[in-house]
C-alpha cells in the first residue's frame, strides 16, 4: 500500500464533454489518482504514446477520432493497456469487436463504485505482477 501511495497510479479520462471530463477527473483525483484528460481520440492516442497510463477511461462517440478507433491504435502500440469504454448507448448495436477489444464497457451514467473497483483491481494485479 505504501508503494502504491508513493507512486500514484496514472489515469487518462477521454471525453468530448467538458462536464464529464471535469467531474470524472475530480472524483478520481479525490481517490488520489493522477489524472490527465483528453477531448477526443486523436489527443488520447498522442498522450498515451508519450506516457504510460495504468487505466484509460474513454467515451465511444467523439469528434475528430472516435473511441473505437483510438482504442484500436492504442492496442497496436501496447497490447496490455487497460481501457474502459463508456457509452450512452449500450445495447446490442454496440460493436461486438469493441466489446471484445475493451477491458470493460460501461454504460453512462457510470456506476462509479463499479468503475473504482475495476481500477483498483487493475492496479492490484499490476502490483502483484511487478
Amino acid at each position: 500500500m505504501n508503494k502504491l501511495a508513493s507512486k500514484p497510479a496514472a489515469l487518462l479520462v477521454v471525453d468530448d464533454e467538458e462536464g464529464m471530463r471535469t467531474t470524472l477527473a475530480d472524483i478520481l483525483l479525490e481517490c488520489d489518482f493522477e489524472v490527465d484528460v483528453a477531448e477526443h481520440g486523436r489527443e488520447a492516442v498522442d498522450m498515451a504514446s508519450k506516457k504510460q497510463y495504468d487505466v484509460i477511461v474513454m467515451d465511444v462517440r467523439m469528434p475528430v477520432m472516435d473511441g473505437a478507433q483510438a482504442l484500436r491504435l492504442m492496442r497496436e502500440r501496447d497490447p496490455n493497456i487497460k481501457v474502459v469504454m463508456m457509452s450512452a448507448n449500450i445495447d446490442a448495436a454496440l460493436d461486438v469487436r469493441l466489446r471484445q477489444c475493451a477491458d470493460r464497457v460501461m454504460p453512462k451514467p457510470l456506476d462509479m463504485p463499479e468503475l473504482l473497483r475495476f481500477i483498483r483491481q487493475v492496479l492490484a494485479q499490476r502490483m502483484v505482477a511487478s
Binding site: G19, I27, N89, K108, M112
Partner: protein, 538 residues
Amino acid sequence: MSERILIVDDEPTVLLFCTRALARMGYEVQGASSGEEALALLGTEDYQVLVTDIAMPGMTGIELLSLARQRQPDLAVIVITGVGSIDLAIKALRGGAQDFLAKPFTPLELKSAVDHALSEAHLAQERARLQVILPLFELSKRPLEYVDLKSLYSEILDLATQQTRASSAALFSLSENGGAYLHLEASVGAEMDCGSACLALIRLAQERQEAFVLDLATAESLDIRFDMEARGVTELLCVPLQAPGRFVGALVLTKDAAQPSFHADDVSLVTILSTHVAGLVENARLVNKLEGLNRDLERRVAERTRALEEANQRLLRSERLATVGKLGAGIAHELRNPLAVINNSAYFLRTRLGDDDPKIARHLEIIEHEVQTANKIITDLMAFVRVTDLERAPVDVNALMLEALTKVEVPEQVHVETRLDETLLKPLVDADKLRQVLINLMNNAVQAMPDGGQMSLVSAQRNGDVFISVQDTGVGIEAQDLERVFEPLFTTKAKGIGLGLALVKLLVEAHQGEIDVASERGKGTVFTVRLPVHPVLD
C-alpha cells in the same frame, strides 16, 4: 313441302271433278265422300287445306269445319255452297272458313280459292310462329343475371302449353356428378315428380337426341306407360335439351284424352323452344358455378384483406412506435450524457460532504435516485427501436420468469406465489426481450399494490401455445381504461410515462403472440401472454 288437300263432297261427280283438277295442278289430293270419313283421314294424315261441301247427309260441312279446326287449328278450310245458299256460306266464313266456292265453279276458280286459302294459312302460321318467337326473343334479351330463372322457365312452359295445347309441361335438368341428379326445374299443369318413370323418360331423350312423341301404344318402357296411365296421360312430347357438348335435361309436354294429338308443328315449335331452354339451363348452371366460385373468391379475398389489414395495422403500429422510439432514443441518448455528468457531480459531492451533513447526503442520494429513474425511462424508450430484431432460441420460460423476478424490487408487503407448469415446452423466443416483458409486467403488478397484496406468476400450455400470467391483487383498472393500457404514453400511474405496457404488447406481438388483460376495480388485474411454441417465421 307438297301441299296436301282433302276434298269432301257427297256428290261423286263434284268430288271427281275437284280431285282431278287439283291433281293436274300439282297438288296432292285426297277425296272423301262424307264428313265422318274426312274426319278420320284428318286424324291420321296431315292436310293443309280442307275443301268441303256444306250440305251433306250426316255430318254437315259446318260441323266438319268445327271439328277439324279443333284438331288442327291452322287448317285452311274452303266451303262449297250450292246456288242460293249464300247464308250457309256466310255461316261457314263466320265459323272460320278461309273462303267459299259457289257451285258451279271452274277449275281456275277452285285453284285460285285453294291458293288464296293456302297463302292465308301460311300467313297465319307465320304469325303463330312469330307469336312464339317474339316472346322468346324478348326473354333472351334480358340479362341473365337479373332473370329469375324459375319464373322464366314457367313463362317458357306456359308458352309451350298454350301453343301446343298440352295439359301439362315440365322442365327437368339432369346433372351428372358421380351419379345422376334429376331436378324438376319448373312445371305447369298437372304435378310431376322426379320418379323412376321420369328418369327413364329423360334417359330416353338423352339416348335419342331428338324430340319424340309417345302414346300408350308406342311407350315401350313399362315404367313410363304405367306412369302415363296413372296420370291419365294419353300422349307425351319429350324434347332433349342439348347444350354444346352436354345433355342438360328435357322438356316434357303431356296431353290427356280431351286434347287433340301433338302435331308435327308442335314438335318443331317445342324443338325451337328447347334449344333456347337448353342454353338457359346450361347458362344457369355456369352462372351458379361462377357465383359459387365468385363467392368463394370473395370470401377468400375478404379473409386475405382482413388478415393483410390486421398485419398492416400491426406493422403500422410497431413502425410508428419504432419511429417514435428512434426519435426518442436519439434524444434520450443525448440526455444520458448530461445525466452522467449530474450523476458524477452528485457522487463527487457525496464523497466530499456526505459524511459531514446527513441532510446533504440525503439530497445527493435523491439526485442519484432521480438520475436512475430518468435513465430507466431512456432505457425503456430505446427498447422500442429494436423490437423486431429477435434472436430466437428455445427458452425455459419458467426459469426466465424466476430470473425476471430477481430484477424486480418486490416490497415486503407483497407476497409472491408461483404456479409453474413443469412440463412446459420451450418456445422459440428472444430471451432478453421476453425477460423485458416479464419484468415490466411484474413491475406493474407490484406498483398496483402500494398497500401490499399477492403477485401470482403462472405458466401453462394449451394447443401448442405457452401461457404466462402475471396477476396482482391491487387497485385494478377502470373498464374504460382497460383497452387503452397498451397505448404508448397512456398511463394511470402517478409515476411512469406509459411506455412499459406498450413495449410489452409490441414485444409479444413481435413474437406472434398475444396479450390480454382482465381487471376488476379494487380486486386486481391479470395480464396473460400467449406465445406460440413453434411460431411461423417469415
